[in-house]
Symmetry: C2
């Protein structure tokens, strides 16, 4: 992996493994051998496996929101904000050929260590907040409508990634993206 320090390499490898098969499907030994150290050395950097999961999720969320940038900068056309948002998910899926970390963790949330589950919820909360802000800043949408649309966008993208990966059809994600654009238009300029 391309991380600088060993600590970051551990996070890189763990993130890839979780996104591939979930939190309960990797071991500290798996991670260790992938970065070329022993499992005891992994525990030097992260006392427990839960600590690895928490660090991975926190880093993932920070990176994701940093890439999104300021949601207040969209003026006039909410479709711009949505297109940018969708594109970040698209890159996540296509570049890595992996799901969103928090789609995976969200699906197994009942069996996660508490701190990992907490960071997963934070990812969703922060994403919904970003979308709401971006939508209200760029349109005359009411707060309630922005909220409803934000929730739907996030849900459809997370679900779309799962379907796309499971059925191994990139087209499925594009399909969801197109429909989101249509929905966005319908909400911004309703017929009635």
């Amino acid at each position: 992996m391309e991380g600088n320090t060993k600590r970051e390499e551990i996070l890189d490898v763990a993130e890839a493994m979780i996104r591939n098969a979930g939190f309960n499907a990797f071991s500290t030994r798996d991670v260790a051998s992938a970065v070329g150290i022993k499992s005891a050395s992994v525990h030097y950097h992260f006392p427990t496996k839960a600590d690895i999961g928490a660090a991975v999720t926190e880093r993932y969320t920070d990176r994701f929101l940093k890439q999104l940038g300021d949601p207040g900068r969209f003026k006039g056309d909410p479709r711009e904000a949505v297109a940018l948002y969708v594109n970040l998910f698209r890159e996540t899926l296509v570049r890595d050929d992996k799901l969103c970390l928090c789609a995976v963790l969200g699906a197994e949330i009942g069996g996660l260590p508490l701190e990992v589950g907490g960071h997963t919820r934070t990812f969703f909360d922060r994403n919904l907040a970003w979308l709401k802000k971006a939508l209200t800043a760029s349109s005359k949408m009411s707060a309630a409508e922005a909220n409803a649309l934000a929730v739907h966008i996030l849900a459809a993208l997370e679900g779309g990634m799962i379907l796309s990966k499971a059925l191994d059809k990139e087209k499925i994600f594009e399909n969801v993206a197109t429909m989101l654009k249509r929905l966005c238009e319908a909400v911004v300029a309703p017929r009635r």
Copy 2:
């Protein structure tokens, strides 16, 4: 659990456990103690853990499609079909307070035994086929449009369940359901 035979009880318990935390988060001993037998007896009914997963997924899919009924019976209003479809997901989420089995399995598909992954894909394929048929039978929608809408509906519902469960807000699922209805209307009666 309410299953009749021990074999069915095993499937009931395993299904609940997978839907709570994923395929890699339960053990044959967990299942055994929950149904009041020993793990060796579980292996009598299902030689391997993968066999349990496959049987759970196959049964789940069959039951789900049976509950949906004939997709050809909807005439005149696709919203009826969509409402019924959404309602089955709603019940799945609210009654059991658990995700759709295949949302969970789809999220960890990279780490599933082959046959479990295969049955998971089959769930998605059969659901998409049902939706397509229901949409084309009840509207003048083109095959391509029915396909696009079907994919979006399934993706949004699976993703919506994950969000709803993770954030512990039933309202999120209802939100997604409402937006799906709106999207459905926009597709059936486009403005242009």
